[in-house]
Symmetry: C2
Subunit: 281 residues, 2 copies
């Protein structure tokens, strides 16, 4: 079985148009690798397309390609194909897409971790910290994040079936919790003060900013969750119950949590909701 | 073994920005499927990314996605993932990319037909007709072509190893012949008057216009080439010799043929030259 997922990076939306070629390469590859991490799968190869501005020089394109090759080596996910095209006008926004192919992890019985298997009684957990991923100068975590491939596989190999569901946090923690709740048909209750926050971000930022690219996952209550894996902290932030919806618990008062993550991508019917879980035999 | 190749379609370069969503879907999928045909491989699944203008309506995106699903069924190449994003400004050129995954043909011994195996003594052949793929109103063959998946597999299954090399003609026949010559390290001699021409196109158009998406292939001199497959005519247009370069033979006079196909895509080092032949195990 081979899985395939695609993600895009658009200049002016996901990165400043003036960002270095290495930033574009990192972000377009790392976004797709984060999708692979969410399934605890093993990346196998990457195909990248770039539509560049006509004033981009060959050196820029070469640096972009070199960085993709470096990232490919780093994640055992070689660049196996690519296409570079030139946009009609200098003002056009550059567009990059990466498709990462992946396979289920043989050391975890070829099982994939889906979004749809959270069960009442499970604990809701996250890796890392949330909020303030975008610095005021345009830099910050959103362009430097590390796809959690190793953390996800290590968790899966040690917990097995007790790792019940997982998703990566690109649009915002509240938005991804809503996906987990809907696809697993469960109620999720989060304790706001337990969410680890980046820098001095507020709770709302941690819930809604997005671009954290951390893992949000559920484990059986009996699972022994390590405090951290490869120096990445793991934190219990809530629980799974019977019912539906996502709720924020503050000292016993529960309020519905809206899925108000930072959705800069539209999601009409054309977006295949199985994009992170698509595959063929 | 899974093969993966990516191609892009840019509004204003490959299709008019005002073209119907079905045209964009057809062209982006068919370009990648043509790459699969060139290897006589079997398509297995398709992943598509689209960066749409902010003024595109949901109905447009839905029609685009429906057409991709129809094409997927038609070529046994299901749409297994996708991503739709919105460009920052209405004036930005829309960008589409499709990655087609494919496997070697089990009914041809899992062999792939490459560009590098043409041998002196072989005959050079083409499917279909060449030139004038773009009508004056922007329509024409370039947006309606049929990827030659079935023709390629049928040829391969009947000729086996006697089908020595193959490429699809996207940039122009002269340009693709130059690729075959260089990658196979052989000299190619073409008889201009043998090239089948679309409508009333001139020889130069047939050689250089591009966007024909026909097959150009070499067969052993002993191979029995059918006159046509599934109503697509097959024509011998030249021969392979020892040496290098591509030459046009007119009544015994040979002149070098420049690779002056219609290259609207740049090809800096970032373009992986193995893009149609990339794969991983």
């Amino acid at each position: 079985m081979v899985l395939a997922g695609v993600d895009q990076v658009i200049a002016g939306v996901h990165l400043a148009g003036s960002a270095a070629p290495e930033r574009f390469a990192w972000k377009v590859a790392a976004r797709s690798l984060s999708d692979v991490a969410a399934m605890a799968a093993c990346p196998a190869g990457m195909v990248v397309a770039a539509a560049l501005s006509p004033d981009i020089e060959t050196e820029w394109a070469n640096r972009f390609a070199s960085e993709l090759q470096r990232i490919g080596s780093m994640f055992e996910c070689p660049l196996i194909g690519g296409d570079i095209a030139v946009l009609p006008a200098v003002g056009d926004s550059m567009v990059f897409s990466s498709t990462v192919l992946a396979t289920p992890d043989p050391e975890a019985g070829h099982r994939l971790v889906l979004r749809s298997e959270a069960r009442p009684g499970d604990l809701v957990c996250v890796s890392g910290e949330f909020g303030a991923s975008l610095d005021s100068d345009g830099g910050g975590h959103h362009q430097e994040f590390m796809p959690r491939i190793d953390v996800a596989r290590s968790l899966h190999r040690s917990l097995g079936n007790c790792l019940t569901s997982m998703i990566d946090v690109s649009d915002g923690l509240s938005s991804e919790l809503s996906h987990l709740s809907r696809e697993s048909k469960v109620r999720i209750v989060i304790e706001g003060e337990r969410i680890p926050r980046r820098h001095d971000s507020k709770l709302e930022q941690a819930l809604c900013d997005g671009e954290d690219y951390e893992l949000c996952f559920t484990v059986s209550a009996t699972a022994e969750l390590p405090a951290c894996i490869a120096e990445v902290p793991l934190t219990v932030i809530g629980r799974v119950e019977h019912g539906e919806g996502v709720f924020l618990d503050s000292s016993g008062d529960q309020a519905p949590l809206e899925a108000s993550g930072w959705e800069h991508q539209t999601r009409p019917a054309a977006r295949d909701s199985s994009d992170s879980e698509g595959g063929f035999r």
